[in-house]
Symmetry: C2
Subunit: 334 residues, 2 copies
């Protein structure tokens, strides 16, 4: 990235995000959570020669690194990584035009080992080439020195004796705020230097989210409200859009919270998962959009990618139709 | 791993841990947080032919995956990944005999891309060959479906159309409990199936840890005490050792909390970071060891690996001396 070497000032993430939403005519974020057991059939069958070549090369690398283990399992994950890459590229080609960003779920790539991480990198590159932002969904968080390493991995670069080592070069990352302000700071600082953003978990959409997020504090207020205040504090609004460069992940299945969230975080972009497969409904999200369309990013993954399982027909056509439906519904929110 | 195919019952993690501590005569966990700018000189210079070969093969893989970018940065991170692997192998060879486990910090490998993840896998394999447990330090946590994917990545395996894909096969992982009980459950369940363990953040050692962990709740108690109770609930003690398979990460720089932690979590193995570079002192950790030596794992990384910077002399010799000093100090605790 060589951020330090750039002569022109960096455009803040909030402004980049707002401009991308307008340019693409979409607030829809395509979640990429590839399950090797549910890939599009074309991805498993097609490009056999390319896949075989990549798998052979990955196996060579393993041997050179000293990794020699049970053969069948090792090859399975290399094959699966190549298929996941083909699948993600196919999904992006099909529904990318309806979206402003992709949100790869890092866990789903990590489970295929270093070949999976390669598939992640190539998927992000593919999305960028098609004009999409990349939101790396890893929910990272650790003590400050390690938080900085995560920032270098995902939105920065690392100095080495061999030169600067590029990271994933995501436009934004999701982070876990449990470790406190000094642990969030390096993630925000590194991201901001490159005009990139951070989305912190404020309240998630799973049933158990209430266990800690909803605890009532001595003196009033809940844990998630304390996190929301810290997220508001940490962000700097872009001069063009007024949108901050620190966003919030807000569970869309608890829309009752959205008005209060917007009150506590007036300039904060919201990343709203839970639409579709997790049960949220896009129409319930209106309070999120008050500061502008870029302030309400609507995420869907399985409901788009697996649309053919209910709608029948070609996976790409079914996904395209569902993505366009969600894009239009979100765009109507005012 | 083929856990399902094993005929013999799996030994629970608490019992495996206690047995390993006795067998190795050590509670010391070697943290591996490789900084490419501070590798042991031998790792940067030595094995030039092996390194060049690995870098060439990694570059081939990149091309096959469609990754073509700014050349110099790409090669830098491949070179750095190969050097990090050589460094970690050298550190393990030097100080492994004083340790019961290694704790690779995933962030430090991820920042070198897919080659870094390959270095992580090969480092873990190297540690296992030398009889060490592997605690993968990634502080992972997400909604249940994604938490399961992280478990598959680090302590499990993933079904694919090509066969079962092995994960990192760590003996235990660190996890972030913010998302609640239903998000912790898949991590614990997958780990337990394979006789592996989970260490949840109960309170960390950074100055900002107080921002959320120390908040006082309506009705009394603090957030970290609520997490501690959940960790105690989630763990199942092994029949031989009485140690649970869900552990706790407890910041060693706040030893005032350790007695209360042990009260709330009587069977829980504690992973105690912060010794050495972060300012903790091993002698302050006595309350942790009450249920047995395996219940108090002492972690150190930079204080061991960078010992030559203050002690002078050969890096391996300096690291060996410091590791042995920490091992002996921890072993004396009763």
């Amino acid at each position: 990235m060589s951020v330090a070497g750039e002569a022109s000032p960096v455009t803040p993430f909030g402004d980049r995000l707002a401009a991308a939403v307008e340019r693409r005519g979409s607030q829809l974020v395509l979640g990429l959570d590839p399950d090797p057991a549910r890939l599009w059939p074309d991805a498993v069958g097609a490009r056999a020669e390319w896949r075989a070549n990549l798998v052979t090369e990955l196996a060579d690398v393993e041997r050179s690194a000293g990794l020699v283990g049970a053969g069948a399992e090792r090859v399975a994950r290399l094959e699966a990584a190549a298929a996941v890459l083909a699948h993600c590229a196919g999904v992006i080609d099909a529904v990318g035009p309806s979206c402003v960003a992709v949100k790869p779920q890092l866990a789903c790539f990590e489970r295929l080992g270093f070949g999976g991480w390669l598939a992640l990198e190539a998927t992000c590159a593919h999305a960028r080439e098609r004009g999409l932002l990349v939101l790396a969904d890893g929910k990272r968080g650790d003590v400050p020195v390690t938080a900085r390493a995560y920032a270098q991995a995902l939105v920065g670069a690392t100095p080495t004796p061999f030169g600067t080592a590029d990271g994933l070069a995501a436009d934004a990352i999701t982070v876990n705020p449990l470790l406190g302000g000094d642990a969030l700071a390096p993630l925000v600082t590194v991201a901001r230097t490159g005009g990139r953003g951070v989305f912190a978990l404020v309240r998630t959409s799973n049933p158990g989210a209430g266990d800690l997020f909803d605890l009532v504090l001595d003196g009033g207020g809940r844990v998630w409200e304390r996190i929301a205040a810290a997220v508001h504090e940490a962000g700097v609004p872009g001069p063009a859009s007024g949108l901050a460069d620190v966003g919030a992940v807000c569970g869309a299945t608890a829309p009752v919270h959205l008005e209060r969230m917007r009150e506590l975080m007036p300039h904060t972009p919201f990343l709203l998962p839970g639409v579709g497969a997790q049960g949220g409904e896009v129409e319930a999200l209106a309070p999120a959009v008050a500061p502008g369309r870029g302030a309400a990013l609507v995420t869907a993954s399985r409901s788009i990618v697996d649309a053919h399982e209910t709608a029948r027909g070609d996976p790409a056509d079914a996904a395209r139709a569902e993505a366009e439906r969600l894009r239009a519904a979100a765009w109507e929110l005012r």
